[in-house]
Amino acid sequence: MGDTKISPHSLAELKNTTDDALGNYLRGLKFEQDNTKLDVRLAIGYASVVIAAATFAADYKLGWEATKTWTAVAVVAYALLNGAFTYWMWAVEKGCVFDGVREGKKISVASKTKKHDPTYYLTVSSANSGSKQITAPFTTWFTADGYFVAKPFQQWLASSVEAIGNADSKNALRDERDEIASPSPEVELTPQGNGTAEASGTDGKAKGSKRSKRKG
């Protein structure tokens, strides 16, 4: 990821940098990336480019009259392939930034942004928990002058998405979460004497002290 600075005013750059970081983070957590959607898009796209190049070469070598029929066929084929290309991007890929598998469980992440709204909208579908939308303002992991900070981004992802949290327990702030509301009935909550529980996982202010799980 490096220390590349981007313009914090450009929504496109914010989204692209975040998308790239998400991919890098998940791959680092040993999620096996499934590139099928992108591969199909590249295949359709480059096939149409090859047809255009062949038409260009034929026209250059043999002239207009000789290649008229081939050119007509090629134009139609190109139009169809480009239509398929656009359809693929619009309907199938639909903002997908990561498709992967980890320990047999699939995860699919799609991102989007809305015009003039500096918020990152993520739709995560995983094998066991269906589809869920999580959002956070870009300011959570970007400094005011445009530097990306990995930690708060990873913490947000790990605490909001079960599958990622399972892979990265350090960032998942599980202890903090369990203090407030444990997701599974087996873990018993013991009442805190002084009510020092932190408000939310996206805060990023994880205290260094270990909290010991007290079992009743």
Binding site: G2, E13, A52, A79
Partner: protein
Amino acid sequence: MFSALGNLQPRQLAAQILNFALVLSTAFMLWKGLSVFTNSSSPIVVVLSGSMEPAFQRGDLLFLWNRGQETQVGEIVVYNVRGKDIPIVHRVIRRFGGGSAPLQLLTKGDNNAADDTELYARGQSYLDRSKDVIGSVVGYVPFVGYVTILLSEYPWLKTAMLGFMALTVVLQRE
């Protein structure tokens, strides 16, 4: 700026290059599609000389249609002199043949004193409608074609324009 490219995964780099390649190939295929539709090898031409003034000026963009084989006297046609690749835009002043016989045309520029017999290839004294003519003019846009004249008179402009386009498309990820 370029470091952003270095951080990309190879597939994403391929996707960015594809974007640029698609811009070029779509532009080319649109041109070829128009060629097929009009049945003309060059459906849009730029007027290079003042020989058709005041009707057309240097730099005007002309739209051609090549599916009407019965060209009449008074129509403006674009033709290539046999052996040369320069399109000439002149008016038909005489026709011979037509119907079942091959159509032959004599042309002259409105602003020229003499007809085009001097311009034709050695031994050629008329145009063959089916072989020499690229199309008849069906419409025009004034002045817009001057860019093409500049690009052909200063060829480095072409490389500069292409290079600039490549840079913006490949580095842009919107």
